[in-house]
């Protein structure tokens, strides 16, 4: 397979294609007829997925170096270039994006009732911006994609959202904007200091990483600016308050993308920028204990708040806060197993929570309510939906045999040596997750069928099976056989850990504990 890909020059054009295909499709959708907007978008996102899937084989898991690298002049006067590349961390973020997008289009098929052309065009622009965030190796380029992503999401929430959409949209925008503007100042400070010290003014990630020592006297402030931007996006407790509003008000596909991909941008930012650029801060015990504590608070707090939500979508939204707490714990424990686990949770969360948001949307389309109390005993009416909802919930809880288990286990395993107390408390988050999800399932699916409105609900249609099927397949596949994924993450995670810890990256080293677990 990889020979075939090499023979068509795949590695030279793949990143360009991944950014260009959605943009081109967006142009076609904007100019084309309204009634074909859905079909064109679906075709475009499927093409995007097919192109991206080649990365699976073309990616060389034996090296932590950036692959598929490409650099083009953009604004040479200011040292800005289009520099892109993919490593084991960004690889799965890209695949997750391209995998989620066709499903999001299918999931919006009937949910979005008006203004198709702008909606689907925005969805496509969002895809391009997200891919851009994950491939950018130029800090300016990264910042541009990071910000550009805001606008389509702002419109998707604000135009097609729920009753309180205006508030949610502007809150989402301003929260992210605060963080990212401080990050812009930090990026520019690094740029001008390193430029003054080395004589080369450049935003290249490689150049900045190699010369980051010149700003070590400012590392604390710079790290703070980066970390704030990423922490808001993750979101780390206490910066999470935009999330429930945005998730609940957004249309189904918007919630899926928000939870599935957008939140990962924050965690990705930590892995790609905040950690490697400022190792001295990242290894500082005070900083580590603060962040780990916030992560653990997020796990417990998110779970507890989720438990009391009467609204199913809000419950799923708060469960995201909890899951992302695990990601933060994994990243900041800085062992190979925990970082791998964190990346795996990022993937799993995209799949499971995405599926839960789809299911919440499907329930809403049938009953026009998301209140858990309005349902009850619907397993008898809609068995297909109930089976999938149960399976997905179990995966979100982290039941062995599903994808959720592997990620959380790796994180807990990798973190225990570093932060035993935090890990023990975090483990209880798994129990809470079981409590809030199973309790919700019981109330929705299995109690008495006492609401006559529920008796006429229709079961999943073929289109809905098409949306959920791939997600369920991934849940089981990753749960049973995660090795191919972990193998591709491993060298990058290892290189990151060694680089931050100040040891020379030993890329061909022996397998570390936790890698072969299945």
């Amino acid at each position: 397979m990889s020979e075939l890909l090499l023979s068509i020059g795949y590695e030279r054009w793949v990143i360009d294609a991944l950014i260009a295909i959605p943009l081109f499709t967006a142009a076609v959708v904007t100019l084309g007829p309204d009634r074909l907007a859905r079909e064109i978008t679906l075709a475009g996102t499927l093409l995007e997925f097919v192109v991206s899937i080649g990365l699976w084989w073309a990616y060389d898991p034996s090296t932590a170096a950036m692959q598929f690298q490409m650099a083009r002049e953009w604004i040479p006067q200011w040292g800005i270039a289009y520099r892109v590349g993919i490593d084991g961390i960004s690889l799965f973020m890209i695949l997750l994006t391209t995998f989620t997008m066709p499903l999001a289009v299918l999931g919006s098929w009937n949910y979005i009732k008006d203004k198709w052309r702008p909606y689907y065009a925005l969805l496509l622009i969002l895809t391009a911006a997200l891919i851009g965030v994950f491939v950018a190796l130029d800090l300016f380029l990264f910042y541009v994609f990071w910000e550009v992503m805001l606008i389509p999401m702002y419109f998707i929430i604000g135009v097609w959202g729920g009753p309180n959409k205006l508030y949610a949209a502007i809150k989402f925008f301003i929260y992210t904007f605060v963080g990212s503007l401080l990050m812009l100042v930090a990026i520019l400070t690094i740029y001008s200091k390193i430029g003054a010290a080395t004589g080369i003014y450049s935003f290249s990630y490689g150049h900045i990483l190699a010369n980051i020592g010149h700003v070590s006297h400012l590392a604390g402030w710079l790290f703070f600016a980066f970390a704030l931007a990423f922490a808001i996006k993750v979101p780390v407790f206490p910066f999470h308050t935009w999330l429930p509003d945005a998730h609940v008000q957004a249309p189904t596909a918007g919630s899926v993308i928000l939870a599935g991909i957008l939140l990962k941008m924050g965690a990705y930012g930590f892995l790609r920028f905040a950690l490697p650029l400022f190792p001295s801060i990242v290894l500082d015990p005070t900083v580590v204990s603060i962040v780990v504590t916030l992560g653990v608070i997020g796990i417990i707090y998110g779970a507890l708040v989720a438990m009391v939500q009467p609204d199913f979508k809000k419950l799923v939204a708060y469960s995201s806060v909890s899951h992302l707490g695990f990601v933060m714990l994994g990243i900041w424990s800085l062992t190979v197993a925990s970082v791998e686990g964190a990346i795996l949770i990022m993937i799993n969360h995209g799949i499971s929570t995405g599926a839960l948001f789809f299911l919440a949307g499907m329930l809403y389309e049938r009953r026009h309510t998301r209140e858990i109390a309005d349902f009850g005993g619907i397993a008898r009416v809609v068995p297909g939906l109930a089976v999938i909802l149960t399976l997905v919930s179990l995966s979100s809880i982290g039941l062995p045999g599903t994808n959720g288990f592997i990620g959380e286990f790796l994180v807990l395993l990798g973190s225990f040596d570093q932060h035993p107390v935090a890990t023990i408390i975090a483990t209880s988050g798994v129990i809470f997750a079981a409590a809030y999800l199973l309790w919700a399932l019981q109330r929705m699916l299995f109690n008495k069928l006492d609401n006559p409105a529920n008796e006429k609900m229709s079961d999943l249609s073929l289109r809905e099976y098409l949306v959920l099927g791939p997600l369920v397949a991934c849940i089981i596949w990753i749960g049973v056989y995660p090795a191919p994924i972990l193998r591709r993450i491993e060298s990058s995670a290892e290189a990151l850990v060694l680089q931050v810890r100040g040891e020379i990256p030993d890329i061909a080293g022996p397998d570390l504990p936790g890698v072969e677990i299945e």
Binding site: I75, P76, Q77, W78, Y143, V144, E147, V148, I151, F155, G158, V159, K165, L166, A169, I170, F173, I174, F177, V178, L181, L182, L184, V185, L188, T189, Y191, S192, A196
Partner: protein
């Protein structure tokens, strides 16, 4: 090309664009005297003015491309790229203001062809401000510009608010001019000269860095300019004047007049006091910080679109002051870049306002834009571009300009000012986004709204042109960045007298 300023011919050549523009303005006045008080005649005069402005722009660019420099010490008017660059900005802003006046004057029944002549003379005044190498020349330019603007602000005789605007602007403008003159007098008293290069030399040679007279003089100059560019706390006139004036005049005031104030400020501070930053940098620092934060906070409270834009232009004056505070050639190029972007987005948004409004647009609330996107999708899209650009969002020229200013101020090691700038930008999201929200996310209030919006003629082309330019410069700023860098290129070495003579003086 070298101009010999010792000969009358050379002197005239050095003033070529200004002479051309003033003569053309006289021609316009003649035509206006001939034909009067009809809509057609007013439009004809407007067209003639447009040709004159384009001609002046061509002359300026001819001098710029031909690299005209002074053979010797420039006593009155500088011959440098900064003059050419800023003159171009003033002329382009005037062209846009003239173009957006076409349909507007007829609709509002302001059939006074002298309107256009005043704009031409005002622009000539600005060009003297941007090019003056002597405080007196800058002052004369300032007065020439201001007198024209006083009249323009009150040109709608039937509107009480227009009269109020003119009176307010005149009184406070005269007040500011007095400050300015006082500052000149004090500086003259301390240094014995009004020539900027000589002032710089004298300060270094006689060690006047901590002279109270110089400091007071600079402080008075800053107050005078603070009034002219609408910096907080000297901004009180701005909202009422911007609100009461006819919208094209408001756009002209918010862009060209502000640009001229800043160009002169740059020249005075960097030429006259460029080697003694400590005299003025702290003052400008505070002026910038207060203007950014308060200007944006005041704008947050506005429900009226025109007033919101007026306050937002105060906030932008703060961003431009940050470029001044960085105190170097990079600050000057950042200023040129930003003022171009700012001119485009401000003129663009005022044009959209003038197109959807009536009766001087005083009553257009932000919520009145509700549903604009469904009625006039392209106009709403253009307004979206203007708002995002004013907000400084990537993909627009406003972002690149803000980026440039941030880079300049960080290069000057003023991290705190950069942080204030971004905090102010975050505040500004609170009033730019509601415009977007109203256009795209709120339903139309009644079926008739926006039906009468004029979408024909010159105003349409102004909107399309400015929006496109903002997007192009936002994605490919390369050309504009080169031009801005070039505009500040030989800025500091304008007079050969400073470098050779200041060295012995310093010893």
């Amino acid at each position: 090309m070298q101009i010999d300023l010792a000969t009358p011919g050379g002197l005239a050549l050095s003033l070529l664009p200004e002479i051309f523009l003033v003569l053309w303005g006289c021609l316009v006045l003649l035509v206006a005297a001939w034909k009067h008080s009809e809509e057609n005649a007013t439009d004809l005069v407007g067209r003639i003015s447009l040709v004159g402005l384009l001609g002046t722009l061509a002359v300026v660019w001819w001098m710029w491309v031909g690299d005209w420099t002074a053979g010797e010490f420039a006593a009155m008017m500088a011959l440098d790229n900064f003059r050419y660059a800023t003159s171009s900005v003033f002329i382009i802003a005037s062209i846009l203001a003239v173009a957006m006046s076409f349909g507007y004057l007829g609709r509002e029944r302001i059939l006074i062809p002298e309107y256009y002549a005043l704009m031409l003379f005002g622009t000539a005044g600005m060009m003297f401000m941007g090019g003056g190498a002597d405080l007196i020349v800058i002052f004369i330019g300032l007065e020439l510009m201001s007198v024209c603007i006083y009249v323009l602000a009150g040109i709608n005789r039937r509107s009480v608010f227009s009269a109020e605007a003119a009176l307010k602007y005149f009184l406070l403008g005269a007040f500011a001019s007095a400050f300015f003159l006082y500052g000149i007098a004090l500086i003259y008293g301390a240094t014995g000269t009004t020539n900027l290069a000589l002032i710089d030399f004298q300060i270094a040679a006689s060690g006047l860095n901590d002279s109270v007279m110089i400091m007071l003089g600079v402080a008075f100059l800053l107050v005078g300019f603070g009034f002219k560019v609408g910096a907080v706390p000297f901004h009180m006139w701005a909202p009422d004047v911007y609100d009461g004036s006819p919208t094209p005049v408001t756009a002209y005031m918010a862009t060209a007049v502000k640009a001229a104030g800043f160009a002169a400020l740059f020249r005075i501070l960097l030429h006259g006091f460029g080697n003694s930053l400590e005299i003025w940098q702290t003052g400008v620092w505070w002026l910038a910080a207060i203007t950014m934060v308060l200007g944006n906070l005041f704008a947050l409270a506005q429900r009226n679109l025109k007033r919101m834009l007026a306050y937002s232009s105060i906030g932008h004056a703060g961003y431009l002051l940050v470029a001044v505070a960085s105190g170097g050639a990079m600050g000057a190029s950042a200023f040129i870049f930003y003022i171009v972007a700012y001119t485009l987005m401000t003129v663009g948004s005022f044009t959209v306002l003038s197109v959807i409004g009536r009766n001087g647009e005083r009553d257009v609330k932000i919520d009145d834009l509700s549903g604009l996107a469904s009625k006039h999708p392209w106009m709403a899209f253009a307004m979206l571009v203007f708002m995002l650009s004013l907000l400084g969002f990537p993909g627009t020229a406003g972002f690149m300009g803000k980026w440039y200013i941030l880079a300049a101020v960080l290069k000057a090691d003023q991290l705190s000012l950069a942080v204030v700038l971004v905090v102010a930008s975050v505040i500004s999201a609170g009033f730019y986004l509601p415009v977007v929200m109203a256009m795209y996310m709120k339903p139309t209030t009644d079926a008739d709204s926006h039906r009468n919006a004029i979408t024909s003629g010159a105003a349409k082309w102004v909107v399309i042109g400015t929006a496109l330019a903002l997007l192009v410069f936002g994605v490919w700023p390369n050309r504009l960045a080169d031009v801005s860098a070039n505009g500040a290129d030989n800025f500091r070495q304008v007079s050969p007298i400073t470098t050779p003579l200041s060295t012995p003086g310093a010893e």
